[in-house]
């Protein structure tokens, strides 16, 4: 027997698991409409790659992964794309998100799927790519893209397959252990082939005797060890499970991989197995539907995107009895705004309790400092102190008392005799502090930027002085030489040579970027800046803010810069109208065209959802930043004029700022 370690705290809430374990897994069938949110995982939402009206087959990619921390989405069955729009979803942060809506045709036609022939000889990188392509994200709750988790930065000693399922009511993993043990074992072996651990553990709480029996039988003869341990909430939390099985604690702010450990949920293991052996993308999952407001609780094999109402109906839902609908368990789940929200990759449970089953919390009483919360806290925090500081908004003390190590398991609130919604306070405080940090970072960044600009200006001034001095000296020398009659040369020859040199220089530059393009860019960015400045100004005027004057000066300055930039552009075009590069230009005013293009792009942007926009933008912005930086460096190297350098560096700065803003926005939507 393997040694089992304990963890601090924990509670023993009523399990309420038997209700949903009376029947085997039922098939939830194909609903008329599937609503597939583009963001079902941690990371960047997927980008829709289908059009409205387009016919899709089961398994077709309908949205592509954007960036590294992202996964694609697939059509769970055949049908046609009915809409790509915002729909109510179950997400703690908000009630609507971009969804791809599929009208199903009931025929369930599929594109052909192909598994990996022999994963044992396959390259792990190829398997990871397959896992990513199949859209697999952690199915235990958080929904982190599995391919990333399975490519840790350290060598892995221990692979843990998490079948703990410590939350009351939920039995989705339990039923998988009972009915699909073989597939779990296969999935675990595939994962093991990828991460090459020394040992593979399957952790299960001892309240699942049938599941344990099935998985032990399936694991017999393999190098998988089934480890059981006493039931206690929250032993299924990744950090707690790791402590139970290895006695080690994941360092604060670190990852299990830092200890050479990777955890995967049993559901994820099955999904990995299906992806590798059958080539099947993640388009369905097992979801528990339970609570006293359903008459036939149980587990369902359900297509992702199935409206919860469909599933609830199958389970005999009585909406009159139901006051709140919870996705997940009673300890960490969140309330769903409407049963129209769809099932997603992380929907392990739908809990429809009656009022008497999970009563509305009574008003909180005073904290009597009984310490029950501290005793229950699996992170060994002092919840009552955190509560105290949270009330006083004492951010520093909150951080000193390790607020950010709180896993929001709810054990403290559960035991609190005064019914204080402790976790709610912690969530709010965390959000506050994160906002503060963001603001801080922003202001630090602006200051740094200002200082850097200051330094740059000084440096450039010095360089220019030096150059000027050098030129002056050269001229003097030439004058002296001419005066002395030395180095007599034909002035015409000299002029020709100069012109040739110039032309050659231009041709060389052509490989990078032409003068013309630079000037255009300067006009566009200045125009953009002017637009924003004007918007700000009118907003400030409307509000009667005291910034109006400052803003107006800013607008005027930008206007004059724009004029200059336009003038420079016009001049350049006039001068070089005979140059080959300019000849290829369309006869319209280049500056106008560029501005129009930018405007159009902006309009198109405005029609998209903010989240989508943010995601779209991040990619674009990053590309643009790289280009802009290149251009700036080139410009400096070529000793460009001041105003051009200014315009260029302004656009670089602006891009940087935008990128960090977009990142922040994204992070917010994702972490929420």
């Amino acid at each position: 027997m393997r040694k089992i370690f304990g963890f601090h705290g924990g509670i023993h809430p009523p399990e309420n698991k038997h209700q949903s374990l009376e029947h085997p897994i039922r098939d939830a069938g194909i609903p008329a409409e599937l609503i597939i949110p583009v963001s079902q995982h941690v990371g960047a939402p997927a980008a829709p790659c289908v059009e409205i009206g387009q016919a899709v087959l089961g398994g077709d990619v309908i949205a592509e992964a954007i960036g590294v921390v992202s996964v694609p989405l697939h059509a769970p069955t055949s049908g046609s794309i009915a809409a790509i729009e915002r729909r109510p979803v179950a997400h703690p942060s908000g009630s609507e998100a971009l969804c791809i809506v599929i009208d199903t045709d009931g025929e369930d036609r599929w594109r052909s799927l192909e598994g990996v022939e022999d994963y044992r000889t396959a390259d792990p990188a190829q398997l990871l790519e397959r896992i990513r392509e199949c859209g697999i994200a952690g199915m235990g709750g958080a929904g982190f893209p599995s391919a990333i988790k399975l490519a840790p930065r350290n060598p892995i000693e221990t692979l843990i397959i998490n079948g703990t399922e410590c939350e009351p009511y939920i039995t989705a993993d339990d039923i998988l252990l009972q009915e699909r043990a073989q597939r779990i074992v296969e999935g675990a072996q595939i994962i093991a082939h990828i991460v090459q651990p020394q040992e593979i553990l399957i952790g299960v709480e001892d309240n699942k005797p049938e599941g344990i029996e099935a998985i032990t039988a399936a694991a017999a003869g393999t190098d998988l060890q089934v480890v059981t341990f006493p039931t206690k909430y929250p032993s299924g939390g990744e950090k707690q499970l790791i402590e139970i099985l290895t006695g080690k604690q994941v360092p604060s702010g670190g990852l299990p991989a830092d200890l050479g450990i990777v955890c995967q949920n049993v559901g994820t293991a099955v999904a990995v197995r299906d992806a590798i052996l059958d080539g099947r993308p993640l388009i369905s999952r097992v979801t528990t539907v339970t609570g006293d407001a359903v008459s036939k609780p149980g587990n369902f094999d359900v297509l992702l995107g199935t409206p919860m109402a469909h599933l609830l109906h199958l389970a005999g839902y009585d909406e009159r009895k139901n006051r709140r609908l919870i996705m997940g368990g009673p300890m960490m789940g969140f309330s769903v705004p409407t049963p129209l929200a769809p099932v997603v990759k992380t929907t392990n449970c739908l809990l429809a309790p009656t009022e008497s089953e999970l009563p509305t919390p009574p008003p909180a009483q005073a904290c009597i400092r009984c310490g029950m919360c501290a005793e229950a806290c699996p992170a060994s925090l002092l919840p009552q102190q955190l509560f105290w500081f949270a009330q006083g908004k004492e951010s520093e003390k909150l951080e000193a008392h390790n607020l950010f190590d709180c896993i929001e398991c709810g054990a403290c609130s559960w035991v609190c005799p005064s019914h204080i919604p402790l976790v709610q306070y912690y969530r709010a405080s965390k959000a506050d502090i994160q906002q503060q940090r963001k603001d801080q970072a922003k202001s630090d960044y602006s200051r740094e930027r200002f200082e850097a600009r200051q330094a740059r200006l000084e440096r450039e001034e010095a360089e220019k002085d030096a150059k000027r001095a050098a030129r002056k000296k050269a001229a003097e020398e030439r004058a002296k030489a001419a005066a002395t009659g030395e180095g007599e040369e034909d002035p015409i020859q000299a002029a020709i040579a100069r012109a040739q040199a110039k032309k050659a220089a231009q041709t060389n530059e052509g490989s990078g970027e032409s003068e013309l393009e630079k000037l255009e860019r300067a006009v566009v960015t200045t125009q953009k800046r002017l637009d924003t400045a004007q918007q700000k100004l009118s907003a400030a005027e409307a509000e009667g803010s005291d910034l109006v004057d400052a803003l107006r000066t800013g607008v005027e300055k930008t206007q004059s810069k724009l004029d200059k930039a336009k003038a420079a552009l016009a001049e350049h075009q006039a001068n070089h109208s005979e140059a080959p590069a300019a000849a290829e230009e369309p006869p319209v005013d280049a500056a106008q065209a560029a501005i129009q293009k930018a405007m159009q792009a902006r309009e198109a942007d405005a029609q998209k959802s903010p989240q989508e926009k943010a995601r779209d933008q991040l990619g674009k912005l990053e590309q643009r930043l790289a280009k802009a930086q290149q251009r700036l460096a080139d410009g400096r190297a070529a000793g460009e004029e001041d105003k051009i350098i200014d315009a260029l560096s302004a656009s670089v700065d602006k891009l940087r700022e935008k990128i960090s803003e977009t990142r922040a926005q994204l992070a917010e939507t994702e972490s929420a």
């Binding site: 601090h8 009483q365 005073a366 009597i368 400092r369 060994s380 008392h401 190590d405 019914h419 976790v423």
Partner: protein, 341 residues
Amino acid sequence: MPLLRITSPHAHGPMSTSRVMQHVLLATVPGIIVLTHFFGFGTLVNILWGGIVALACEALALALRGRPLAFYLKDYSALVTSTLLCIALPPYAPWWLIAIGVASSVLLAKHLYGGLGYNPFNPAMVGYVVLLISFPVQMTAWAPPRGLGEVPGLFEALLACFSPASFDAVTMATPLDVLKQNNSLLLEDLWQENPQFGRWGGIGWEWASLAFLAGGLWLLYQRIFTWHAPVAMLVAITAMAGMFYDNGSSASGGSPLFHLLSGATIFGAFFIVTDPVSSAVSTRGKLIYGAMIGALVYIIRVRGNYPDAVAFAVLIANFTAPFIDYYTQPRTYGHARKGDS
């Protein structure tokens, strides 16, 4: 009806503050029965009268502070405070003494600091100390236990409380008093001469202590509090007494068993030291806090001017609780132990 939106957790455990308080009240019952058996109805009358005063004070304070009466009265905290105080008061105390004590506890020690949960000092002990300093004579007039004197009946107890002048009180020094006054006899002889010492901690006292122990253990079993503070206190007092026992010379401070079972040691350990609001909260903190009280009790009993010392010891420790908490924060999951890096 729209669906309710509440953040997690959605479930709640069975415990509530009112239930915690009810448990504490219930746990005092065996001790009260034993006290009543040995000393008559005095304690019971104290408790009943004290309870009425406590509820009245609580209601008054809530009304003045503009708080909903019913919601807060239901938390039973005022009753717990008054009951604990009244158990500690001498039986057959006059009504005004009780009233002043309870009012000090509820109004001064609790509501003046912001109500339940905000009081830095144990309210019952504040009331006790106010009385002990203001009315030392009344506060040390303890009745003789059954077997050594007449035990008054219920009527006499009521008379003693509400018409003190017409009650002819019989009092007897408590074992702790006697020990304190002693400076010539070996303890063995002292025990021989003073029947109130009983077997270990004094007639009546020792059984009451055991009854409070039973109540305390039940609370422990019910997980109302953890073992740390009471056990630390008892261990500390035993260790101190053991260290200075010197086998019972005339200068001896008394045996460990005597200190454990006499006076308010056990009662204090399980009902006063465990008051959550005013004590240290972390596990290590509770150990330090309890041990500190144990040591202080012994020192004050033997070297101080007052025969029993639980109240003073607890108040002093209350002072230190915030510091203890500050220095005994538990190691959070995933953080290196102090000294590790």
